[in-house]
Every structure is written in C-alpha cells, then in structure tokens.
Amino acid sequence: MTFIQPTSWPEALEARAAHPEAVPVAGGTDVLVELNFGRLHPSALMDLSRIAELRVWGRESGQVRVGSGVTYSEIIAHLVDDLPGLALAARAVGSPPIRNRGTIGGNLGSASPAGDCHPPLMAARAEVEVASLHRRRTIPISEFFVGPKRSVLGRDELIAAVWVPVATGPQVFTKVGTRNAMVIAVCSFALALHPPERRVGTGLGSAGPVPLPAHAAEQFLEGHLAETGAWESRAPLADSVLARFGQLVAEAARPIDDVRASAAYRRRALEVLGRRALSWCWDEYRGAKT
C-alpha cells in the first residue's frame, strides 16, 4: 500500500492524475471506519490534511467559498452568521471529536443520502467546485449526487470547495434521530427563505437515494407569499398553509424501509419537520427588523 502525502493543491492534483486508484483521506472519519473494519483495501491512500489551500474559507461576491477541508467545528465557530443553515447542520453532526476532524468535502465525497451538510446546501442552492490537473468546474449541488454513495466526481478529480450564497433570510435545519448526538439522520430537512429574490429553498436528507429538493413545496409557498403579499406584510401564516407545506415536503420524499426507520415513518416525520421548519423560519422573518 502506497502513502501519498501532497503538501499543496497543485501537487495533490498531480498525484490524483498519476494515482487515480488512491483513496483521498481528509478528516478520515468515514474512510478510517472502512479501513479499520477491513471493508476497504486500497492500493494507495492520499492524505489531504496538509493542503493549506483546502482549509480556508472566505467571502467572495455574495457567496462564501468554503474549502473542502474545512471542519464542522470551524463552520460552527466562524460561519454561523453567513451560513446559518449549514452551521446548524454542522452542530448536529456526531460529537466534538468528529466535528473537529470531519470536513464538508468528506461529507460530499462520501455522498451518503444521510450526510447532514447536503440538505442546507440544497436549500441554499450551493455549488461544488471540483478540479483535476487540467480542468476546473462547478456543479450545482442538486446535480452532484447520482445515487447512494455515488457522485459525479471523476476519478481524476478532487473537491476543492463549496460555494454557498450568504444567507439573506432565516434558515433552519432539523434532524430526526434516536438521540441528540451521534446519530445518522433517520430523516432531515433544511429550509431557507431568500426574501430579496422572493424564493424558498428546501433540502431533504435520508429521504431517498440522493438528497432531494421539495420543488412543489417551494412553489406552493412562493406562490402563496406572492399572492398574499406576505413577504411585505410579514403577516402570520395560516395553519392550513403550514400543513400544506408539510404535506408537500413529505410528498417529495422517496424513502425506503431500512434499519433506522420505515418509509412510512420517514414520510410522516418529514411532514412534521416541514411544518415546524416553516413556522420557525416565518416567526424569525416576522421578528426581523430589516
């Protein structure tokens, strides 16, 4: 087994081109479990933890570019104002040592339908920046995942960063699990209101083979808010609107029965999460001064 330890981004891309069989390791919180249990026998490992370029974040024209090697703890500590939905999801991940080590790029790389970053990234309409030695491209988050643990990332590519629009309105993330920490989501839901564009963003986790948007729920709410002038008046939303939104969120799910929950339970839970998330976001919007 070969160990490759690039110390810069260009070196990493060169190594990726020369050794497409090498498994990248960032925080290692997914890969090491596979290695420790003998479920993964790669001929080479490539450590990404020394690449300073991947560990940084910064604002660029209304977006935050979050390096793929940025950890959950860093997101919680530094990005809660700009990216509240992502920060809430980061807080729901694992335990302190997992959050200290696990990265946003590793979450995308694993492409688990239960990955907690994915719903808020869907709701915020984020883009994934990937690169190979010869090419750099950005992929809308909604097109990044193609199946459970599968993404469009090429064998010669690495994830460089995630571009997330700075929040312009309330964002929430909710997750159902058997305890408040250390759980893979039974299901999860993220909602983001984008008042300047009069848009609504959603993302469902553990609700299908890939993270899913609830387009019909978004359109219903956008239509209702436009027709009633509620973006301007900030009037309370009727219970029937909250309920309808929850139903449409649940209808967007394509859940399965598995060890964590039945499909029927997931649908029902998502209906409740959708309704609650909207009431929390709308209360926050009504309370906001600007």
Partner: protein
Amino acid sequence: MVLGRIPGSQDVRVSCTVNGERRVAEGVVPSESLLHLLREHLGLMGTKNACEQGECGSCSVYLDGVLVCSCLVLAGQAEGRAVTTVEGLAEGDELVRVQQAFIDAGAVQCGFCTPGLIMASHDLLRRIADPDDDEIREALAGNLCRCTGYQKIIDAVHLAARP
C-alpha cells in the same frame, strides 16, 4: 510529497512529538491508525481501543491541541505533529485537576472509558471554564461508559470546574 518513505518499502516511517518527546516509528502500514501507532508501535496503552469507529471516544487524544478520535486518524497524518495522550496531561506525579476530580467524585469504575472521558472533559474545561449540565452532556456525547451511568462523571466535571 512523500511516497512510501522507507526506500524500497511501501511502509512509512512516522515521526511526531508525543507528550513532548520526539518519537519515531518505522514500518507503519499506511492504513494504520494513530491509535495503532500509539499502542502497538509506541507502547502507550493509556489510549484505549474499543470500537475503532468513532462511536465510543475511548481513544481520544489531542492532535496539535485538537481533540480527535485517534482511531479515525491515519498514523501518517500525525507526521511532524504534536500528540498529547492521557499519559501526557499530568506534570510528573501531580495529576491535573480534572483527573483528581474523577477520583474524588467516584467517576471511575472499571476505568476503561476514563482516559477518553478525561481528555474530552479536559478539552471542555479549556473552552468553557464553568460548564452547565447541558454543555457537559453535549461535550461528552461521544464518550460511552458502561459502568457509571454518567452522573458521577458529570459531577466530576463540575468538581474540576469549581473545586
């Protein structure tokens, strides 16, 4: 870039600072964890191995001052870095306050979880000098104990914060 650092071999040499001392291990397989490096190559048995999947926290150490599960870090990722294990907290025979508090509060039964819980509690008390119950529970959420029922562990953290 480093490719199999021992010439002619795929195994790597890892050199890092452990509890303030320079340590070198030869013949480390690239897929070995930092936990294996500490226990099997360096003979430091304070850091415990229970689950090897990040669930129990018994392998917790500081890596460059950051609390991590050593079972989820590649040994090679520790190259050139500083590791502090539970053996490295005390100054000589003088236990640090949180270690003494675990003894005084009766937070140790079989003791298997204790090194990890000491590390996680130490880390918490660096960040929050006087944490409340919720903050303690959140900080220790990744550490499993099969004996104590946790209450005495929470008492120990309070005792360390307010002796």
